[in-house]
């Protein structure tokens, strides 16, 4: 977990804005982490390593036994507010009201979608490293589908995207039926409706799609993974001489 391993300097007091819950206006470039370090160094301090705030909290800790129940009554305030979070928050002038302000991406009268993709990749990466509190007043409403398909295609080389897409969908389609016949439970048949079949299909296709490409060749693992749960369910019927559920 990035949160646990990353360390950063505390925000210099001068960067704090007066509003209690507002975030410092940091620019993404250069990296705030580096920038903070630089600022700290400039101020003549060695970078101080600070653990993320939630780790500093002492929380009531019931013994989470390996397979046991634990519960206890406690009266402790949720302490998040006690410690001003030194976690830098995501800021970008083009990020307005929970989405990318497309007018700020215009280049010669048209939106530079490549730049939008870059900006969003950066934002997601940032939030992965520094997960941020949700804010009811400023909901994130950005939807990747507003970026037209051709921008993705152009960006990610049409032939490759098509190959990946087509291969996954095809393998997925056959896998769905193959896996189904393997398990002997007849999931596809049992779900006598199109929605479930589509779902199953999409799902299996997706398992393949979001894998790394090299795994794709390792069909055995995929089959194992897809049928693992089925085996766990069928164990009950294995010890029966007749085998298989009988109704």
């Amino acid at each position: 977990m990035a949160m646990a391993t990353s360390t950063f300097s505390p925000r210099p007091a001068t960067l704090r804005t007066p509003r209690p819950h507002s975030h410092p206006h940091l620019r993404l470039v250069p990296s705030p982490r580096l920038r903070l370090r630089r600022l700290a160094r400039a101020a003549g301090e060695a970078p101080v390593e600070v653990a993320p705030p939630e780790q500093r909290e002492t929380e009531p800790s019931p013994a989470v036994a390996s397979n046991g129940t634990a519960s206890k009554a406690a009266t402790t305030a949720v302490k998040a507010e006690a410690v001003p979070a030194p976690v830098p928050s995501f800021r970008d002038a083009r990020w307005v009201n929970g989405t990318w302000d497309l007018t700020k991406f215009e280049k010669g009268g048209v939106v530079d979608w490549d730049a939008v993709i870059d900006a969003e990749a950066r934002r997601r990466k940032w939030l992965e490293d520094y997960p941020e509190a949700t804010n009811t007043d400023e909901a994130v409403i950005f939807d990747t589908s507003i970026i037209p398909w051709w921008a993705w295609m152009k960006r990610f080389h049409l032939p490759e995207a098509e190959k990946l897409n087509g291969r996954a969908a095809m393998v997925g389609f056959f896998m769905a039926y193959f896996v189904d016949s393997l398990t002997g439970v007849g999931l596809v048949d049992q779900m006598g409706n199109f929605f479930c079949k589509t779902l199953l299909l999409v799902a299996v296709a997706a398992v393949l799609l979001i894998r790394k490409n090299e795994d794709l060749d390792n069909l055995k693992n995929i089959i194992d993974e897809t049928t693992f749960y089925d085996k766990q369910w069928q164990a009950t019927w294995q010890d029966e001489a007749t085998g298989g559920p009988k109704n």
Partner: protein
């Protein structure tokens, strides 16, 4: 059996409510097991139900109603099972639950992605549709009181072990620690035992019945939950709303939640793969909800295992498992209350049918009928949720795509229908295809962004 005194301590809220007489009577299918012998001189079939959660309560009620001599053993009458307490709408009608059992009616379920994209799923709900939030101590006590009204004997005691019979149609001996009302739920108590013809293990994830019958183990997730009392103005936000957070920060393989309860919220998360890090995930869940729960008082901290799949063996002779003891919690959503109650009821109905309303001995094959029926009815649901979990909880990119997908009205309608009613109504094939295309689109975009993210250095 008659020597057993029932020391039942129900919370006043439940004692006040007589078990509904308005409930429509369940039709019990009576089908004599041809092979099993008739019980001697009018003796009724005796069944012990171990555990008084939703599974045990539902089983005991259906058994007693079907003419079976039933004893339910519960170690702690005011047990407050660590649980989110969300139940589907169909549970309210199928089990005729009185509406005052439902503390809150959630109509807005917020799904929040790793990059904080939030979608309200619930837009497609009809005015009468909602997800019910119950307090488990109230629900469990209510179901037990109904079992008692139906004629089951409810005993406060800790089940210790059972002895299997030596001869074919012999009795099982159940050993337990009896607590009288003064030692309710305390250690100590008096060792007692009694004889039964069959045992239903409804004693949850750490089932002793399962251990005694050699049912084998299952993988489990550990779920951690804090009950937080937040100021009224903050509570107002959660009036009809529940939140689900997804992301590697809150859980690598499950979700973090904020569920509204009667006068507080439950904030929690769970994981199978990284149990040692559960505190870190909990802190991350709290951080993501931050302002909304800030300043609240933690009134209770709890942790409990959640089974991931059924045990290798769910029946042995005339002993069988239901609910969490068997392992009936769905992947992806972590839902188990409904399936616990349903499996308890189905198991009881199989016993009632197999014993011709308590007049004949039952056999393993009768109990297996319940398993076959349960698997037939619900296996597709479990499988679909397993697939969904494998696909959409495997990485942040997939989670982003998942949340994006959930913004779609059609997806919302289909997921809510299948959650609320536990049945899947056929959709419109054209919409299904559109959905498939959109999903693939979302996944492709999320994966593409993920590749870009790998190149980014902050």
């Amino acid at each position: 059996m008659t020597s057993l005194s029932s020391a039942v301590a129900l919370p006043s809220s439940c004692r006040a409510r007589p078990a509904g007489s308005s409930r429509r009577a369940r039709m019990v299918v009576t089908r004599a097991a041809a092979s099993s012998p008739k019980l001697p001189n009018g003796r009724r079939l005796r069944v012990a139900v171990v555990g008084g959660g939703p599974a045990g309560g539902a089983a005991a009620e259906a058994l007693a109603k079907g003419g079976v001599d039933t004893v339910l053993i519960e170690r702690k009458m005011d047990n407050c099972k660590p649980c989110g307490g969300a139940i589907p709408l169909c549970m309210v009608s199928e089990f005729d639950l009185p509406l005052d059992l439902v503390d809150r009616k959630v109509r807005k379920m917020k799904m929040i992605s790793p990059s904080n994209v939030a979608v309200d799923i619930g837009r497609t709900l009809a005015p009468h549709e909602y997800i019910g939030m119950v307090r488990r101590e109230v629900l469990d006590a209510y179901l037990r009181s109904r079992a008692q009204t139906a004629g089951a004997e409810v005993v406060n005691g800790l089940f210790l072990r059972y002895e299997a019979p030596k001869e074919p149609n012999g009795s099982y001996v159940v050993h337990y620690n009896h607590y009288d009302s003064s030692s309710n739920g305390k250690v100590g108590g008096e060792k007692r035992s009694f004889e039964v013809d069959a045992i239903v293990g409804a004693d949850g994830a750490n089932s002793r019945v399962a251990k005694d019958m050699g049912a084998g183990d299952y993988e489990y997730a550990i779920a951690f939950q804090e009950r937080v009392k937040i100021p009224d103005d903050k509570m107002a936000y959660y009036e009809e709303r529940a939140e689900m957070y997804v992301g590697d920060d809150v859980s690598p393989d499950f979700y973090g939640w904020v569920f509204p309860k009667c006068d507080h919220v439950a904030v929690g998360t769970g994981t199978v793969t990284h149990k040692a890090d559960i505190k870190k995930f909990q802190a991350a869940t709290r951080l993501r909800a931050k302002d909304k729960i800030e300043g609240g008082k933690i009134i209770r901290v709890e942790a409990h295992p959640i089974p991931e799949h059924p045990r290798p063996k769910r029946v042995s002779g005339r002993v069988t498992l239901v609910g969490d003891a068997a392992g009936y919690v769905t992947k992806c959503s972590g839902e188990g209350i409904y399936f616990a109650a349903k499996s308890g009821q189905m198991c009881a109905e199989a016993i009632v049918a197999g014993s011709a309303n308590g007049t004949r001995m039952v056999e393993e094959s009768d109990l297996r009928k319940y398993l076959a029926e349960f698997d037939r009815l619900y296996w597709p649901t479990y499988k679909v949720l397993d697939i969904l979990q494998k696909v959409f909880y495997r990485s942040n990119a997939a989670r982003e795509a998942f949340v994006e997908m959930c913004a779609d009205d059609y997806v919302q309608k289909m997921t809510f229908d299948s959650y609320l009613y536990k049945r899947v109504v056929p959709g419109n094939p054209l919409d299904d295809i559109k959905l498939a295309v959109n999903t693939i689109g979302s996944l492709v975009r999320a994966t593409a962004l993920r590749r870009e993210m790998e190149k980014v250095t902050l």
